[in-house]
Symmetry: C2
Subunit: 327 residues, 2 copies
DNA sequence: ATGAAAGCGCTAACAC
DNA sequence: GTGTTAGCGCTTTCAT
């Protein structure tokens, strides 16, 4: 790997000049610039980001803590963060941890050690863990999806999402609703969906019941068992509001396999609008989270903090009911 | 952010000593070690990875070029690479580019500038682009999923996959097969699936036809159009071998929406075994790619090269037919 | 066992 | 317009 010195030598100038053309900063004569550019190309020179980061004290990369990639919801988030960061001239460094206090701390530590100029945290943890971590991150810190006390947070309008879903089900004639909450451990703010659901049911005087898909049991098999139990325990059930599209899809599959007609016998609405939701049959009615806006707001927030601007403490991104064929 | 100097001062030792305990290298008296550790904890010290990388000349991170996160297949790959790298003590730096010569070069450039100790490239590009890039990457370079000439490559046994899928369909009584190839631009090695399909069809004297899902048209809508056309043009068709589970799922949905019974009227087998494949109804018969093995082999290969070992030029990971309910 | 000092590749004053 | 130089935070000889 050639260095700035090599380039300088080859171009017959000093490293300062090379640095100037590299950063387009300071005055450089056209000839010098030409020579430098030629040398850079010829030597296949790539400025060492480590050295740059070291001397500048920062990195123009944003660190992102994500529970995992291999889940449609989180991978949408990852994709959009990446895209938005790039648009703003930032790189992103992902640190994966499905949770656990120790691991989370390691993630943050890794990000800090990597001199990221800000961190986007995408899921919850216990409040104590937070207080400890947030207190001395030392870099701009924002929460996405889950809101954290004392940290600028970006969340979806989950209350609205819950209302939309529930009202829609009721408007379609459902009298006996079941709600399956998602992984509240990861996405604490999602409990707003549940609250809204309950409230709407009460308001409209509709029978309801709530089940929780346990964090530790988020594998397909465990959901299958849960879904099985739900159908068994609720023979009257004519509508399901699932807190994510994966579970919703599994409900659809189960219902179909048991000979239920959708939506005639049972109506199902999901949450998230991941891409498969429109691809399955029947295509899933769901609440769409606006991944692009979510990510953009998060990136924008850390960029703002970096530039000394005070970001909103809480930003709520609208959701949208996407009516398809399961209702 | 406290530095090694702060720690040294606080512990009453020199920075060399701090460095020694940091790296567990060289002799340090127990007292000194205690003091240093205390100081580090107290100052919440995180060694600057940039500085370390700079002086060591490397990073212990592996760079990965990925077309996108928000696709079940690629996100599985990303997840497994991340996991395996971590197991081997490496970090991973993702660089996202859906293709395009310029962008690809930027990705590689970014990775190089970031001093990654090796690069895993996960999709194809034109041979010229490759020759240019590979020639002077300067770091270990391995290809995953797609095989690249002159580069250690890890691929799935796509020939076997094609055979398995086709034979299965024929064994189930299909007489009129259609194959939908995937994005050959991204996954060049996938054409082996098509070759194997053709060969098997010929061998068994089964009518067949091939359609290609065009790269530029990989959105759901375009696929819908393609699938629509396929059904229209092939009224006799009784079996589909799709080169990825997304398209397969869309075929299932389309067939169902048109009143076909699956598998009685039409049998469908996909490719990849992404997680939704088992969650839809009917659950999809498919060829499972072994993400974990794929990723492990790739990570292992770059680690090997880093350590001076010569890796196999081509590693072929077995695939598996997963029989579910669409056949 | 420990410290002083050189230097990794680069940027940013500061001189000329 | 250009070069010299002092670090950025760390590792690593080399003395002691």
């Amino acid at each position: 790997m050639s260095t700035i010195k090599d380039v300088a030598k080859s171009a017959g100038v000093s490293i300062a000049t090379v640095s100037r053309v590299l950063n387009k900063k300071g005055a450089v004569s056209p000839e010098a610039e030409k020579a430098v550019n030629r040398a850079m190309r010829q030597l296949d020179y790539h400025p060492n980001r480590m050295a740059r980061a070291l001397v500048r004290g920062k990195n123009n990369t944003i660190g992102v803590v994500l529970p995992f990639f291999n889940n449609p919801f989180w991978s949408e988030i990852a994709q959009e963060i990446e895209r938005n960061a790039k648009d703003q001239g930032y790189h992103v460094l992902f640190s994966i941890s499905p949770g656990g206090e120790k691991e989370l701390e390691q993630c943050i530590s890794y990000l800090r050690a990597s001199q990221v100029c800000g961190i986007i945290q995408t899921f919850s943890a216990s409040q104590e863990v937070w207080s400890a971590i947030v207190k001395n991150v030392g870099v701009p810190f924002v929460a996405l999806i889950s809101d954290l006390k004392g940290v600028p947070s970006i969340v979806s309008d989950d209350t609205q999402g819950g209302i939309l879903a529930t009202r829609h089900l009721i408007a379609r004639g459902c009298k006996n609703l079941v709600h399956i909450s998602g992984d509240l451990h990861l996405i604490k703010h999602a409990d707003e969906r549940t609250f809204a659901f309950v409230e709407e049911c009460k308001k409209k005087n509709v029978a309801y019941r709530i089940y929780e898909s346990q964090p530790a049991k988020l594998t397909q098999e465990d959901n299958a068992e849960l879904i099985n139990r739900i159908f068994y325990e609720n023979p009257q059930m004519d509508g399901i509001f699932a807190s994510n599209d994966i579970i919703a899809t599994q409900c659809v599959s189960y219902a179909l396999s048991q000979g239920f007609r959708i939506p005639e016998d049972i109506r199902i609405v999901g949450y998230d609008d991941i891409s498969v939701s429109s691809q399955i049959y029947p295509p899933l009615t769901t609440i769409r989270q606006n991944y692009a806006m979510l990510a953009r707001a998060a990136v924008r927030a850390v960029v703002d903090i970096v530039h000394g601007k005070e970001p909103k403490p809480l930003e709520i991104i609208p959701v949208e009911l996407i009516e398809r064929k399961t209702t």
